[in-house]
Subunit: 506 residues, 2 copies
Amino acid sequence: MAKPKKQPRPKAVTPKGFRDYFGQEVSQRAQMLQTIADVYHRYGFDALESSAVETVEALGKFLPDVDRPNEGVFAWQEFDEGGNGDWMALRYDLTAPLARVYAQHRNDLPTPYRRYAMGPVWRNEKPGPGRYRQFYQCDADTVGTASMAADAEICAMLSDTLETVGIPRGDYLVRVNNRKLLNGVMEVAGVLDPENPEKHSFERGIVLRAIDKVDRLGPVGVRELLGEGRRDDSGDFTQGAGLTEIQKSLVMAFVANDTKGSPSLSVISDIVRGGGTDKFSQTGMDGVRELEEISELLEAQGYGPDRIVIDPSVVRGLGYYTGPVYEAELTFEIFDEKGRKRQFGSVSGGGRYDDLVKRFTGQEVPATGVSIGVDRLLAALREKGRIAAQAKGPVVVTVMDRDRMADYQAMVAELRNAGIRAEVYLGNPKNFGNQLKYADKRNSPIAVIEGGDEKANGIVQIKDLILGAKIAESATLEEWKERPSQFEVPRGDLVAKVREILDSQD
Amino acid sequence: MAKPKKQPRPKAVTPKGFRDYFGQEVSQRAQMLQTIADVYHRYGFDALESSAVETVEALGKFLPDVDRPNEGVFAWQEFDEGGNGDWMALRYDLTAPLARVYAQHRNDLPTPYRRYAMGPVWRNEKPGPGRYRQFYQCDADTVGTASMAADAEICAMLSDTLETVGIPRGDYLVRVNNRKLLNGVMEVAGVLDPENPEKHSFERGIVLRAIDKVDRLGPVGVRELLGEGRRDDSGDFTQGAGLTEIQKSLVMAFVANDTKGSPSLSVISDIVRGGGTDKFSQTGMDGVRELEEISELLEAQGYGPDRIVIDPSVVRGLGYYTGPVYEAELTFEIFDEKGRKRQFGSVSGGGRYDDLVKRFTGQEVPATGVSIGVDRLLAALREKGRIAAQAKGPVVVTVMDRDRMADYQAMVAELRNAGIRAEVYLGNPKNFGNQLKYADKRNSPIAVIEGGDEKANGIVQIKDLILGAKIAESATLEEWKERPSQFEVPRGDLVAKVREILDSQD
């Protein structure tokens, strides 16, 4: 008889592209989510939590004839005798589920429906450094109104939110654009025909890509790409869009650059009215009017250009949105992995998208919303030292006498009842050094010691571990011997002395 | 040419067994999780958030030769050219991921490792009424210590947690048992041979099932099943375990019943010492000693039988745990779906399990932990009226003049800056009745109205919607006409008057 095969041990690893979050990372994120939720809630937004799992059909990212729909999402087929079970998938954002929820419950929900949602989303993408396949989003959307007041409100709320979580005014900027502006400029420049959107799509592609490359190529390079084309340093030639001089100038007015900054709304307004050509773009004018309306609403509420600006150079998400788009950028500089200074960049983006619910119901339902990248925002606050990189651990009560565990547990209970985080050492107490090593690993501020002698004399030893570490780093042997970081106090003064030391450490 | 097939609209439905949570349901759960996390944290437990996705191998629930491992979990195969991608799955609890995390990071983690975790888990089970395939767990575990002080600590923490979230002392009881007791009794009763656990497994199965049925069958019925067997009212005969009279008495001493309550530890102690037979159970004695130790530790800290009791009749999870087991039960009565009074029952359970990390590392790692059913706890608090079933909505500022949206947004900003939840109506403002209907659907306490006349006179109308609804229910036409629920105040008094009305509504 064959020997039964021994089962190999499972590997203790996270799946590729996933990670674990420990201690401080978890509680700081929870706290930030709660803070953001409070702001959203005060603005009248209601919480919504849909499940992590949706039907692939409702998420709507796949062709129905793709056998295994794993492009971009994690999906699986429900078990079913005939193999005809539904395909289900993990949500890849919080907007697609909102569309499903609104379509499903629209008769019970208020209209307009302001909702916020927060939680993990999953992407079946190739993981990379700092790119994970599960991450948090924190969204607020208003469904069922075409009013620009909804967009203005979300921009104001975004500004309030950033300040509430600890980004001071001046360290961030909410920038607002409208995708109708660029469409308008392209109409006037003759690369977009509103009657026939398919026409000029080749040239339009070149124009869009050129605009997107301004940071790298500079205005001169962009201009070359708008015209005949551009030869790079290596000698490679990229074909251009073949625009005329006047067409090029129209598009270039739209391109932000370091010397002149972003184009003003009045410049754009002149362009979409014709800008020296015989064309006129209604779409462009609509975009200008919408931005003016948002701008007026925000100014009336005191949200000036120190917080929110109209900026026609914002290209973010232009392919996805149908009207206003907005993003929040942190404007302070940080050092990147290679030690170079750069702006921290975007932590939030959003805009108006009007085909949200239509997929399900056939009726048009206008909507606008924003998503905050909570993990990036946390990284920014850590970078600026506004939240602690490492948390203080609990007070550790050491175990000198295994039989008096009840005494030690009574001590931690006293400390906790006074609101002080505290724990008793639960490992093998034999080696006292191990207990202090444990306290060190826990990042404990204080260790409490009560051996038989102390017990008999009604006292406890309280060790200031933070001061102790400082002394150990810098003190002479004489100073060290005096051990001024350890205090002997009556047992009854335990809580008071621990509190005193904790206060002195802050 | 065939007409291109029109794509059918997707159905707006949650997948089978999943549901959406709205407003209050979401925020109350978030608040409870935070409250519990605060207690766990004060006890020295550190947060851990592992990803929702684990390898099927690490979760360890499946045979490797099952082609599609969908028994109990939602699983899928990673895409891979050769079809050899890893199987991944959604976690079905928070304990299996803890085992993987501890095995993976054990060199960086403190030992013992106290950790808490909270979040959704997923079960691929047949959904039923009130049974969902995604639900929340909130766990605390201590890994790496065999000390009973760890179990005592978790019982104390469970008691503290319940009181902190709003279950008063007297309305709950933490009951502690040890699975070694029942094993010990079965050894003495001759249905468990510690040298040969396979032996007597048939009789043992009958004994275990009989004990489990005491609530339904009563002690007489259980005793029949321990002996020859039992004939039920329908005439069906269930074969018994065939125990002798003395064996039956030993087991029966272990069975709780209404007249004598649970057996005391000293009764069990007598049994596992032999109880009139020539047997002696070391396992049973170990169990007694462990419970005595837990009991002493808890008593020394003042956790008396009004909060935590040793109760050898607790059978919960006996198949899973290796030592102490504990559960928290809410002791007040509620009415079930059929209008019958019953105890609310268990909201939490846990115990010691010592094979947790061994699967990965081969080394034994003792561990103990508890899981709180947050959704059941919320249901209990709602049942007792301790948290509001429906939240107050925001103050709604109505729109009388579409062009003065900025004025209305300024009003809500003022209210919000004063900490009052407020929103402006963003739907089509043409029909004022719709605005009041909207406020009603939002469960708004107050509507604010400022038309052209009010604006010109520097005043606003403030409508107390809750008082209004009360008057509408009970008032005569005369009283109704006087409309004492609507107030006219200077624009500058908006915030003060709204606050006054809100306070009067509490």
